[in-house]
């Protein structure tokens, strides 16, 4: 479900019509633990039986040795009670011990699978989903499911069994009172069910409102500097106060519901106990019930309270688990659209010439009415470098993302050496294509790991060469060298440093096709010149597609294509387009300051020796 509808309660309710179905679909995760579950059940039932037996022993004590004044029998029965008590405790220990390992094991397996699936889903999916929404699925939803499948289901079986056995024993002791106690389960059950329903609705509302608060917090954290720069703290605080107050109101309502129910759940068994006591005393006075039986009856009746009460909790927990399963299956059911087709082939690097062809390629984002790219026809010859030029928002970055198949074309096709990209193995294609994005993404990992993202086998020489090419040798001078952690949780680097690392990553391993989105935008003039010179050598060996904003970077390209409104309107040499295409001129011609004629094309001139330039600090 996309972000837009994820906030819509109606859509959520509709998705939850057959929730148990989705929970049932998770059963493969339980299968490895089938034997454990059998043990669990046996240990659980045996433990409960031992627990139930104790009041019966008490009855024998009261009616036997105590009533008949036989001290010998007392010790025997006391020993039995001791034995039963020890057995019960040991069985509980076994049950809980086994239970915990299967519970966390299952949770870990499910989490790993959801993660694997998310990694396969295309970027279009991730564009629609907030990472926070996905995160809540692998954390809170998974633990709800874990609780239900390991504890909830188990206690459901155990408690029902306990209930039936105890009621049978009670009826056996005194039929009329036994039936009365059994009947007291009806109001308890009704209260629990009503509670389960309302509580579930309140929890869901609370979850959503917590999500709202979290979103607001995350956004404020991300935009903190902007907030500070405009002094908009009070406005944001007011927005937050509104969300927090809604959460508060829901919390109070939930608390009231809990208070009413839990007090009622105490009242019913207490009243039953009172009736049992009065009627039992009367029966005992008439001799229909021994004192020992009365004591046993009361003890056994107390044993029933928890199984019936917990039924409400288990139902609520089950509903929560069903919703959670729903939310998880929502993700698992989204088919990865971009996958290896049947019979996809791998192309070895050496066999690739690198002729990249766009044939009548159109693309529109899912759900969008207008296409981003329309009927693109473009051929890039092996070793050629094509610069893509266009105004802000003309579709340049989208076009680039089609090459490593981050998106698939809507119509038309893209071929590499005549192979439709969709007929290549995805891993093979992405090995052949090196990418540098507009925003250099660095993860909270070591520099080395960031460079060798998909190629953990890259050698030191390769890394050194790539870093040298991107003028990113500064990486060796970081406090721990290439082992230094960068990214949000590590050392923060300047925009130019990050861009150079991203560039090194793209060229690492000499890709056959290079796709770069404004790769030098954050570099200062001096570094840019050095990177350009080095890039030129690499670009000879690769087919390259660059998005370019600045006239200075155009020098890298053999040919230029002008993208206007999703169409290629002109291709040719930079100087030709400059002379003949007014739209191109408007985009790229540097407006020389008055009095300075534009200088001719040339390489970088002598640069200041201390290596400083116009850069951000």
């Amino acid at each position: 479900m996309p972000v837009e509808s994820d906030g819509d309660p109606a859509a959520r309710a509709a998705a939850g019509t057959h929730p148990v179905h989705n929970l049932w679909r998770l059963r493969p995760y339980l299968r490895p633990y089938a034997a454990e579950f059998a043990w669990l059940l046996v240990a659980g039932l045996a433990g409960t039986a031992a627990g139930i037996a104790v009041p019966l022993v008490v009855q024998r004590v009261v009616d036997g040795p105590v009533a008949r004044h036989e001290p010998a029998g007392l010790l025997q029965l006391g020993g039995l009670a001791l034995l039963l008590g020890v057995v019960e405790a040991v069985l509980i220990f076994i049950r809980r011990w086994v239970q915990s390992s299967s519970a966390v094991g299952m949770e870990a397996a499910l989490r790993a699978d959801v993660y694997a699936h998310l990694q396969r889903l295309p970027t279009s999916f991730h564009d629609r989903w907030q990472s926070g929404q996905l995160l809540s699925r692998i954390t809170s939803d998974l633990s709800v499911i874990r609780r239900f499948l390991s504890f909830g289901v188990f206690f459901l079986v155990l408690n029902l069994t306990t209930y039936v056995v105890v009621v049978v024993l009670l009826i056996n002791l005194h039929p009329a009172l036994g039936v009365l106690v059994a009947a007291s389960a009806v109001p308890l059950l009704l209260i629990s069910r009503r509670f389960g329903r309302h509580y579930h609705a309140a929890s869901r509302r609370m979850q959503d409102q917590q999500g709202d608060v979290a979103t607001l917090v995350e956004e404020t954290a991300q935009g903190l500097r902007t907030m500070k720069a405009y002094g908009r703290g009070p406005e944001l605080a007011a927005r937050f106060a509104g969300a927090a107050r809604r959460l508060h109101d829901t919390g109070v309502g939930k608390g009231r519901l809990l208070a009413n129910t839990s007090a009622l759940l105490d009242l019913v068994p207490n009243v039953t106990l009172g009736v049992v006591l009065a009627a039992g005393a009367a029966a005992a006075a008439q001799g229909a019930l021994t004192i020992g039986e009365l004591v046993a009856f009361v003890s056994l009746q107390l044993m029933l309270i928890w199984p019936v009460q917990s039924l409400g909790w288990i139902i609520a927990n089950g509903q929560e688990a069903a919703t959670a399963a729903d939310r998880i299956q929502e993700v698992l059911d989204t088919p990865p659209e971009i996958v290896d087709s049947a019979g996809a082939v791998a192309l070895p690097r050496d066999a690739v010439h690198g002729r990249l062809r766009f044939e009548r390629v159109s693309f529109s984002y899912p759900g969008a009415t207008t296409g981003v790219l329309r009927e693109i026809d473009l051929t890039i010859e092996p070793g050629e470098t094509l610069a893509l030029v266009g105004a802000t928002g003309s579709g340049k970055s989208t076009l680039l993302s089609l090459v490593p198949r981050l998106h698939d074309v809507s119509t038309g096709r893209i071929t590499l050496d005549g192979h439709d990209l969709r007929e290549l193995r995805l891993a093979s294609l992405r090995r052949l294509v090196g990418v540098a994005f507009e925003e250099p993404t660095l993860f909270s990992m070591s520099v080395r790991e960031n460079l060798t993202l998909g190629r953990p086998d890259a050698g030191d020489d390769e890394i050194r060469a790539a870093l040298a090419l991107a003028q990113a040798d500064f990486a060796y001078d970081l406090p721990w060298g290439l082992a230094t952690r960068v990214g949000e949780q590590g050392l923060s680097l300047s925009g130019g440093q990050r861009q150079r690392l991203a560039l090194a990553r793209a060229v690492l391993g000499r890709p056959a096709v290079l796709v770069m989105d404004d790769p030098l935008s954050a570099l200062d003039v001096h570094t840019e010149a050095l990177v350009e010179a080095a890039l030129r050598r690499v670009l000879r060996d690769s087919t390259s597609l660059l998005v370019v904003h600045r006239p200075s970077t155009i020098a890298l390209a053999d040919r230029v294509a002008l993208l206007e409104d999703g169409r290629i309107t002109a291709t040719g040499r930079h100087s030709d387009l400059l002379a003949t295409v007014p739209a191109y001129r408007a985009l790229l011609a540097a407006e020389p300051p008055a009095g300075h004629p534009p200088a001719g094309a040339s390489g970088p001139s002598s640069s200041p020796s201390d290596g400083w330039g116009l850069v951000r600090s």
């Binding site: 008590g85 809980r96 902007t226 405009y230 106990l273 009065a278 928002g393 082992a483 951000r616």
Partner: protein
């Protein structure tokens, strides 16, 4: 942030599965006091969190007292049950045999009263405690959020957004969890353990003495559980934090993950982290799996012993059968709450830890504070004169960025700042926007030290636009209006037109009402920058600072923006940091910075003719064109 100068000792050999994380450069630098783990700091935090709790509860004193009264009533009523069973057996059955139903009716009546009292008191207590708890949560949430807003940019750079989010979500949630489901069980369990012990002693002293034998075991067991589960709990939190960080980062960077075929390795790392988490939670679960049956065992053994000894005493006529029955019933009420306590112990632990962390955050003093006695900025035409007097500043004490900087920018002047990385350009911008205060010297706006200006006044006068261009969720119009919340639609549109953003906005599916989604996902980098510009334009400040604000624009748009700036900047003071000379050349004055000092100062045309660094750069730039 700058790279620390001194390299730390080499990292120890790490196993393959953790090496990918790399080594954090300065574990202390990114830790606030709230994260400190030394014993003194922990003790201090504990003290702070206790003070905070008292502070939060103080407004609810009356309601708290009422809640305690209700709780005591509930406990008393609940304790009456077994006692009435005893009376019933020992005092009501014998007269009944003789045909007198009076005592039984009395007992039944008392039972009914106790049941109803328990119901009413429990309901009242739970409702009241939910009210108090939620009010405290609301208060705490707003305090922490408000405090985060007040803390300086410097703090947030150290603290990172991820940690701020986790404080305000998962930490507060764990306190909420305790408020929702744990507090009454905790208090009631403690209360009923105490009262049951008292009743037992009163009912039958020798029998109670036997029961008391269980106490040392219970105490020792509970202490062991409390200690080991505290550390197990901490390990679990650490493990799950790593899982979360890895998950969120791979989802945010999914394009890079897929384009570079990172998936298999990510999966291995994720599974390894998940396995760590699994192991640590398994350990925590197994502690409960040991503790809870052990309590049960002690309880069961006690019951068996009481049964034997009590039966023997009944035999000897030293006690009555009803007392034995009541004893056995009370023992249930004694051991059961202890079982429950183990369930709630974890939520208590996590809530305590969370409160400590929040107390630590609330204890951070804003490095850039609101003035106690603010000075209003002078009003009138031609405002915006900036003066730096002997300004020294560094992000870290050992690495000064600016050193006794002297600078005067007359009102209305447009100044371009250029220089290499680390020269101090952005630092100057941040000092004017008062993201930081100078370590020494003063920055004055129209003669007033920025430290004496109210934040609201300063923000009206000074606006900083960076390349960050954060867009908040909401419509495009709302994002522009961020610059001036009171502006009407016409003013928003006029600002967009002035900056050249109107055409692209009008072409969006819903024009100005288009939702920008999260962080402007659907807008290109250039478009986001234009919206940010319109926002700054609408804010209409006296001093405008542009820090690389046009880096993502294509040439025509930039030209458009520059033309607009030509008019916009005419009556304002402006500091412009750009790496394109085309931007610099439109300035009235260029400052070339190096190592925190001004090394060249003059009009661009003059500097270009001179034989300095600017001239060299200018030549180089000119050559790179076309």
């Amino acid at each position: 942030m700058s790279v620390p100068e001194q390299a730390a000792p080499p990292p120890e050999e790490e196993p393959e599965l953790t090496r990918w994380r790399g080594t954090a450069t300065d574990p202390e630098a990114d830790r606030s006091r709230a994260e400190d783990t030394s014993p003194e700091a922990v003790a201090r935090l504990r003290r702070l969190s206790r003070t905070l709790l008292g502070d939060l509860l103080r407004p609810h004193r009356r309601r708290l007292a009422a809640a305690v009264a209700l709780l005591l009533a509930q406990n008393a009523a609940a304790m009456a049950g077994p006692y009435l069973v005893m009376i019933g057996i020992d005092r009501a059955i014998p007269p009944l045999r003789a045909g007198d139903a009076g005592p039984l009716v009395t007992v039944a009546g008392a039972f009914a009263v106790a049941a109803v009292t328990e119901y009413a008191a429990r309901r009242g207590f739970l409702t009241l405690s939910a009210r108090i708890g939620q009010a405290v949560l609301l208060d705490l949430r707003q305090r922490v959020f408000g405090h985060f807003l007040r803390l300086s940019v410097g703090f947030h750079e150290r603290y990172t957004s991820g940690r701020m989010v986790s404080r305000l979500t998962s930490d507060l949630d764990s306190i909420a969890e305790l408020v929702d489901g744990g507090i009454d069980s905790l208090v009631l369990a403690g209360l009923s353990i105490l009262s049951v012990a008292a009743i037992l002693l009163w009912l039958d002293l020798p029998l109670a003495a036997v029961t008391l034998f269980a106490f040392p075991f219970l105490f020792w067991l509970s202490r062991w559980f409390a200690r080991s589960s505290a550390s197990a709990y901490r390990r679990t939190r650490d493990a799950v934090a790593l899982v979360i960080v890895h998950f969120v980062e791979s989802m945010r960077g999914i394009r890079a993950v897929q384009a570079f075929r990172r998936e298999p390795r990510n999966q291995r790392i994720f599974v390894a982290l998940g396995d760590d988490y699994r192991r640590s939670s398994l350990h925590a679960f197994r502690l409960i799996a040991t503790y809870s049956p052990a309590i049960k065992l002690i309880g069961n053994v006690t019951v068996a012993v009481v049964l034997c000894y009590g039966g023997w005493r009944v035999l000897g006529g030293q006690t009555e059968i009803g007392v034995l029955a009541a004893f056995l019933l009370y023992l249930r009420r004694f051991f059961e709450p202890m079982q429950e306590l183990s369930q709630f112990y974890n939520s208590l632990q996590s809530a305590t830890a969370a409160l400590e962390k929040l107390a630590g955050v609330l204890d951070e003093r804003p490095a850039v504070a609101e003035p106690a006695r603010p000075t209003p900025l002078p009003t009138g035409p031609r405002r915006g004169e900036l003066i730096f007097r002997a300004v020294g500043f560094g992000y870290r004490a050992d690495t000064p960025i600016l050193c006794r900087l002297e600078l005067t920018v007359p009102a209305g002047q447009t100044v371009a700042l250029i220089g290499p990385t680390g020269a101090g350009k952005s630092t100057i911008a941040k000092l004017v926007a008062r993201f930081h205060d100078p370590d020494t010297g003063t920055v004055r706006l129209d003669g007033v030290d920025l430290r004496d200006v109210r934040d609201a006044d300063l923000r009206r006068a000074v606006v900083l636009v960076t390349q960050e261009n954060h867009l908040f969720s909401g419509t495009v119009a709302e994002n522009i209006r961020f610059g001036c919340p009171g502006a009407d639609d016409a003013a928003v549109q006029a600002a967009a037109r002035a900056i050249g953003a109107h055409d692209f906005i009008a072409a969006l599916p819903e024009g100005y009402a288009t939702q920008v989604h999260r962080r402007g996902g659907r807008l290109s980098a250039g478009q986001r920058q234009l919206v940010a510009f319109a926002r700054a334009f609408l804010a209409d400040p006296t001093v405008l600072i542009l820090d690389e604000a046009t880096s993502s624009l294509d040439v025509p748009t930039e030209r458009l923006v520059q033309r607009a700036l030509g008019t916009i900047l005419r009556d304002r003071t402006a500091l412009v940091i750009a790496h394109r000379l085309s931007t610099v050349e439109t300035a009235d004055r260029v400052l070339v910075l190096d190592g925190g000092r001004v090394v060249e100062d003059g009009p661009p045309a003059v500097l270009a003719e001179a034989d300095g660094r600017y001239a060299a750069l200018h030549r180089q730039w000119r050559d790179s064109l076309i």
